[in-house]
């Protein structure tokens, strides 16, 4: 792909309130042409509202939305060159698959023959080539969402908006469609804005992940950077799994720093934006942790460790997941189930060991979200 045009879609200082609640708060974002951007955040963080404002289904209280430099803030939805795939199936029940897909083309009076080709191509693209004559009610959930996708992309929208389109589907179909969606993006080279609360979806598909909380951007960067170098404890706990240990930054020494967690000094990578005495969090991803049997093995050179007791083991196929009690705290670790050295059982004393270089230390933004776990709420 050629060098993307910066600011293809520009969201400038956009705010939106419902009643007293400020859902989107002075939000700025530039999306490049051809970019796949995910808006990732817990329910109620404003990501869907933001998407609906780009679609024209809501209008901002303040700020502006520009597409290719043109202000479309007040343009009604049917006059915007953007299309949306919604979370719920919104296929028109009185039309068959083909009639659904050609809905937008018919409104724009595209000639019949051309419409036919475009619809066939779109159905081909979503791997449903022979479904044109099917009634909508005979489709499975995954098929219905693929038809909805075809119905949107057949119009060649300047921006395709996706509002958690996969969240109502079974895990297996969801995974399969993630791959398809990424391939469709590559083939069309379109600009996609994807809303999700599922970090796996966001990390897997997008060029850039925008982590949101309470109507604001917490961090916007590539998926790997989001995962490996979170800037705050919110991002660390929302993106990826593992342990986010809240504490106080004690001292720094070269590239490494020490954090006091419950009075215990633990080592990690020195944070860019914190000074000694600041509230910080040490991020220990499950996969950087090595479990060591203190009776037989010494902690290797250059690693630091804490002692704990295995509370629960969960066999997860490729990995074994451990819940380990360390003092009053419960930590998680996962080890490849191929690894023969690992044999910790429930009740065993173990050492949780990691290389400090693998453990980022981040600003503590939000003590609400403690440690590992799912995002707290599921409102929508």
């Amino acid at each position: 792909m050629s060098e993307p045009v910066q600011g293809y879609l520009q969201i400038q200082s956009v705010s939106k309130s419902f009643g007293d609640e400020r859902v989107v708060d002075d939000f700025d974002l530039n999306v490049a042409q051809g970019e796949f951007v995910s808006l990732l955040g817990p329910s109620g963080c404003g990501k869907t509202t933001l998407l609906r404002m780009i679609a024209g289904l809501e209008f901002p209280d303040a700020g502006a939305i520009l597409l290719e430099g043109k202000d479309i803030t007040d343009v009604p939805p049917h006059k915007r060159p953007v299309n949306t795939v919604f979370q719920r199936v919104t296929l028109f029940p009185h039309l068959n698959v083909r009639e659904n897909v050609q809905f937008g083309l018919r409104l724009r009076r595209v000639p019949k023959a051309e419409t036919r080709t475009l619809v066939d191509d779109a159905l081909e693209l979503v791997h449903l080539p022979d479904f044109g004559d099917r009634a909508v009610r005979t489709l499975s959930g995954g098929q219905a969402q693929r038809v909805a996708l075809a119905r949107a992309i057949v119009n060649r929208p300047k921006v395709l908006l996706l509002d958690e389109p996969l969240s109502a589907l079974d895990l297996q179909i969801r995974r399969e469609l993630q791959v398809q969606l990424k391939e469709i993006h590559r083939e069309l080279q379109g600009t996609f804005v994807y809303v999700t609360h599922d970090q796996e979806e966001a990390l897997g598909m997008s060029d850039r992940v925008v982590v949101m909380d309470r109507g604001r951007i917490m961090q916007a960067c590539g998926p790997e950077e989001c995962y490996r170098a979170p800037e705050s404890s919110f991002v660390a706990s929302f993106v990826g799994t593992g342990n986010v240990l809240h504490g106080t930054l004690v001292a720094s020494n070269g590239r490494l720093s020490t954090v006091s967690v419950d009075g215990v000094p633990l080592k990690g990578v020195k944070p860019a934006n914190a000074a000694p005495g600041d509230e910080v969090a040490l991020v220990l991803r499950s996969e950087v942790i090595q479990l060591i049997d203190p009776k037989t093995t010494a902690v290797p050179e250059g690693m630091c460790s804490v002692r704990g007791k295995v509370a629960t083991t969960l066999f997860g196929g490729p990995v074994i997941n451990y819940r380990i009690d360390v003092g009053d705290r419960r930590m998680t670790a996962s080890c490849s189930s191929c690894d023969e050295q690992v044999g910790a059982r429930e009740g065993d004393e173990v050492l949780i060991a990691w290389r400090p270089e693998d453990a980022p230390i981040v600003r503590d933004t939000d003590p609400r979200l403690q440690g590992p776990g799912e995002p707290a709420n599921e409102k929508r």
Partner: protein
């Protein structure tokens, strides 16, 4: 498929049959005698004839009453569908103060006694100095029929997913286009069912019509006054026509009512 137990109580069977005979024998008799050759309403039958129908259709009183009923019914249905659909859209789609109260209020006329409605409308028209005519009768029918239609339309719209409309807007349809291409086609069958029910209610309405029609006549009123004066077998024929009219519309409505239940 639901498995049903075998029906095996002889007394209950006899009782059930008796109830149905009681319910439908008079209806069948009227239909039967409408085809009788003689004027006597007694057995035995003296042969089959269409003379009473011929008499009805050549009587200016009956024919003009049939047309009056059709006029009132059709205009009532058109007004009911327009007002009822808009009202149903309003109370199901928008939130505004008094929304629930309005919903109840729109259903209320169906619960009022016909006699009361008739006198109330008559008083109103007299006070307002409106000449009683087919028009005032139509207004009366509208008030009486609207709640039934509104109930059907608002029930359907309660189940309507308004995200479908947003989808249509998103795909490039303006507000009118969305209404014509998405909303109406989806709720249409229910509206048609409601309209058919509305027509059959209007078609045989007597009480309100009696008070509000002045010196004109609809079919049910003509039948009523004819029966009062004498026993004329052509009443059987015209009643059968009335019955046929209602049945056609109710059977028609059944097809569309299926949509209400999905």
């Amino acid at each position: 498929m639901k498995r049903r137990r075998k029906f095996q109580f002889p007394w209950l069977l006899i009782f059930t049959v008796a109830v149905f005979v009681f319910l439908f024998a008079p209806v069948l008799l009227v239909v039967l005698f409408s085809f009788n050759k003689t004027a006597a309403l007694t057995f035995p039958f003296h042969g089959f004839s269409l003379q009473w129908y011929r008499k009805v259709l050549s009587s200016p009183t009956f024919v003009s009453a049939i047309f009056a009923s059709l006029k009132v019914g059709i205009v009532t249905v058109l007004l009911t569908v327009t007002i009822g659909t808009l009202a149903a859209l309003g109370v199901t789609r928008y939130s505004f103060p008094g929304r629930r109260a309005l919903r109840t209020l729109l259903l209320l006329p169906a619960a009022l006694p016909g006699l009361f409605m008739g006198t109330a409308l008559l008083t109103f028209f007299l006070v307002a100095h409106v000449q009683l005519s087919l028009f005032t009768a139509t207004v009366g029918h509208l008030v009486y029929v609207l709640p039934y239609f509104f109930l059907v339309a608002s029930t359907r719209l309660d189940r309507f997913d308004f995200l479908l409309e947003e989808s249509a807007r998103d795909l490039g349809a303006g507000p009118w286009s969305t209404l014509w291409r998405v909303t109406l086609p989806i709720i249409g069958p229910s509206l048609i069912a409601g309209a058919l029910v509305a027509f059959s209610l209007s078609w045989d309405e007597v009480m309100i019509t009696y008070f509000t029609i002045g010196n004109q006549n609809t079919l049910p009123l003509v039948i009523y006054s004819t029966v009062k004066q004498s026993i004329d077998p052509s009443v059987n024929a015209v009643s059968t026509l009335l019955l046929a009219g209602s049945l056609i519309f109710l059977i028609g409505a059944r097809r569309f009512i299926a949509d209400l239940q999905t």
